[in-house]
Amino acid sequence: AQSVTQLDSQVPVFEEAPVELRCNYSSSVSVYLFWYVQYPNQGLQLLLKYLSGSTLVKGINGFEAEFNKSQTSFHLRKPSVHISDTAEYFCAVREINTNAGKSTFGDGTTLTVKP
């Protein structure tokens, strides 16, 4: 079985500051990893994903994440945030060779960017 832990439920940060949203996972087999963003009252939008290859993955809106197999982590980073980055962020993991819908999602991290 797989599990995901988002280590921070809320992350407040000032505009133009860097941010890191932390995600740890647990699985006995190889996994795919995802970050989604959810703006208020909207569905989830894919930010980036790690399937294989380079452990540093770049996504939309200037976000990137690094897959660390030894630490079973997939932390999301952005060097300089904007007010518009205020949203809920979800980390998800799925064991390879399983149905795409059987991803396990973390409980989310609320990123609040303050002026």
Partner: protein
Amino acid sequence: SQTIHQWPATLVQPVGSPLSLECTVEGTSNPNLYWYRQAAGRGLQLLFYSVGIGQISSEVPQNLSASRPQDRQFILSSKKLLLSDSGFYLCAWSWVSGNTIYFGEGSWLTVV
């Protein structure tokens, strides 16, 4: 390109009333389809998924049911709503052998 739509966006229903949420995917054929529920402050819980017309898998026992009457249509239903059915419901799709799930806009259900 592919798009996914679900409706209604917001719904307020009394306890014991029926429910029907609809979801349609455009721009692809034979997608895998999913219904998720998102409770406040929590992650997503997979409720149902479908790999083809009439093929429904239920992930958790509950008061809800799903149907797939057409290739790109997925419906979430209930005969009698409970207060605990309140939440944000998300429809999603993926390619048959795809790695990524793509979500609709979501539907807020409040049972009163």
